[in-house]
Symmetry: C2
Subunit: 423 residues, 2 copies
């Protein structure tokens, strides 16, 4: 089933706000077999909204509109759509009382008169209550087709999308088709390899994965692969994705570390927890990023003891017991120093596992032999250890993010008993 | 001058990719007086692109299209627009040779045949070369109006936008109007206060700022205020913004810390550098976030000595010399402990300035007296120090981000000789 999306707001149109609502609505609709074919963004202008909604209804007969349902004078979505459906706005006394009670309950004093307009609805519209805000969603059926209006505040929109819109669209899809079709996807996360290396490894396989398609999504944390399938019923779609993943995963091999939103820090924490090991970090060029990644995970305190950010060289000597002679002989960005940092962190915190990073994030500090992006990483776990040299591309932020990810990955591979890759 | 934007790509439409290109183009165009009135997003479908571009041209006569200029079979933007302008695609021999030379130069072997299509252009189109990729921008004038095609790869789009599109649109605006009007804005950043506190402080002032409008943009790092003005000539617009800022800044008072993209860590580093002080950090619940924020700034190594992430209590005792008796008597999240952490970090790193954070980020670990979000912060600089207790709202990530920002802000206020706010 096809439909269109109209998002309303001058902030969106001017480019100050990214249209995350539209992206979220499209993904949710695709999962129940409703395909967004065009998305239109207009400002807070009644004629522009009316034109956009009318065009969408002409093309597909079904439109989801978000934004412009607030109490201020520039919120004109209801008026524009009411005009199109020839359904005048009428005050809903029952809803007005609910609004007034809401204000009283939240102790915000009497309701401002401007909020009265939020109890006005196009005649015949179904009101879908919004427990998180004052603007309900509205569902209109009429001669031009079906229009659904959602508030633009993201958490209110999200709740109404999940609780009201998706179940209703699912029923609509089921009512129209004998076999409701859907778009489903799985994201396989890899790190320590490149997009082109994965693409050539998958080259012979890719055509055979049909109807599943593969998208490559490279970023600082590695390359994500999105397997996607459209136009099948839900169980068939999931089975096709399962078959495709079974064929792709062996090719990704040890580069694969998880699915969906899984953060590598989470994977490493789980590995350590299972082995009853505790972790310490020694960070130089990453300056705290690895610790921040790890402690972002709830429950990390069970595993994570702490770390030293040894940004200055004297801290490497004092706090991590790196011999000054090593720093003098090899420089701070070297294998002997990163190994000494790794050992020093484990010793200081009295733990079995540690990682260390020292490198040149730039923009200054590079030399011919050690250009910006040169990073030494080391990891130790349960008596085994490993150090690797990397040359990361990109600016300061890229080098730092890639370094943090590579340090966590080195530890992951060590813990899985898999050799670290030297590229 | 009004125009429309059409962005092409099934990834955008499905909601996997956020339309950052559209936002960037709209902001850049507004700054030279060209107003995007509608934005349409369609998939990689020739009829859908043609309909969207035709509609845009009908309404405004000028359209910027981005995406769908690559070498693969689903890149159909040129074909769709060429059809609309009745300008058949023709092979540009000269551009073809340039493409082939590019492949040879980058050592990528012979050019794949599919890339030949990238040297085909609608008859009469102006080709605006793309030094960063294979798809040039195209400028078409014809009966339906003017269409500009930009590649969708963000860094290629950005360069062509800045180097080619903006100067040309500026000339167009100047050619059409005697007094080119523009949209200009300034963002004033505050922290340590709330949106409603600022709004009531500005209540009496706001109407008097016209034609400048104020938008409140709250986030984990504080509340940004965007002052914006439209419809004036550039010098008048800048003067109006200047006058508005002069009136708003005294109200924001010490909560204001910078403009635009300025990070608070940058401000604090500048303050310390000016006072020839060096900085160390002691982090518990932030786990490295403060160090990561500081070291994200190029040149921070001049000022930042390093830090201790004392996630476990025994690290607070061993690495920061927090007396065990204080931990036992008051708990890790307490004023005596945060002060001891602050002093311990300064002592260990031998520096004049330090900050310390200890708190309960959740989801677990809260109690009746110290619920999730309870955070003690301390800062010291040049013999002065201060500790504050905060109760931050939100989940783990919110509490951690707000804590890091509040710690930096405590140090900033101390360094400016301004009292820290207790809310």
């Amino acid at each position: 089933m096809d439909l269109e999306l109209v998002t309303v707001g001058s902030e969106l149109l001017l480019g100050f706000t990214l249209d995350t609502n539209a992206a979220e609505i499209a993904r949710a609709l695709a999962s129940v077999g409703a395909r967004v074919t065009t998305r239109t963004t207009v400002g807070d202008s009644e004629p522009a909204i009316r034109d956009a909604v009318a065009g969408a209804l002409r093309r597909t007969g079904l439109v989801v509109v978000t934004g412009g349902l607030g109490p201020t004078s520039d919120d004109v979505t209801k008026k524009a759509v009411a005009g199109l459906f020839d359904a005048p706005l009428e005050l809903d006394q029952q809803y007005l009382r609910r609004l007034e009670q809401r204000f009283a309950r939240l102790g915000r004093g009497p309701m401002p008169p401007s909020n009265r307009t939020q109890a006005e609805f196009p005649r015949g519209a179904t009101v879908l209550p919004n427990r998180r805000g004052t603007a309900p969603a509205l569902w209109l059926d009429g001669a031009p087709g079906t229009a659904v209006l959602l508030p633009g505040v993201p958490h209110e929109m999200r709740a109404l999308l999940r609780e009201e819109l998706i179940p209703r669209v699912r029923s609509l899809v089921e009512a129209r088709h004998e076999t409701p079709v859907t778009t489903r996807w799985r994201t396989l996360r890899t790190t320590g390899t490149t997009e082109s290396a994965i693409a050539s490894a998958l080259a012979d396989l890719e055509a055979g994965l049909a109807p599943v398609t593969v998208a490559y999504l490279p970023g600082f944390s590695g390359v994500d692969l999105r397997l996607m399938v459209s136009g099948l019923r839900e169980p068939e779609a999931d089975a096709a994705l399962h078959r495709a993943a079974e064929r792709v995963l062996p090719v990704l091999d040890a580069h694969y570390y998880g699915e969906g939103d899984t953060d590598l820090a989470m994977v490493v924490l789980d590995q350590l927890r299972a082995r009853r090991m505790r972790l310490a970090v020694a960070e130089s060029c990453t300056g705290g990023l690895i610790g921040a990644r790890i402690t972002a995970i709830p429950g990390s305190s069970e595993v994570f003891a702490g770390g030293v950010v040894s940004y200055a060289d004297d801290s490497k000597v004092r706090d991590l017991e790196v011999p000054g002679s090593l720093l003098e002989a090899h420089g701070a960005v070297s294998e002997p120093v990163v190994r000494a940092m790794m050992a020093g962190a484990a010793r200081r915190f009295g733990v079995e596992a540690s990682v260390a990073v020292t490198g040149i994030a730039g923009p200054a500090g590079g030399s011919e032999g050690k250009p910006v992006g040169t990073v030494w990483l080391a990891a130790r776990a349960g008596g085994r250890d490993r150090a690797v040299l990397r040359r990361f591309p990109g600016g300061r932020e890229a080098v730092r993010q890639r370094s943090a990810q590579a340090a966590l990955d080195l530890l992951r591979r060590l813990l899985s008993g898999v050799r670290a890759e030297r590229r």
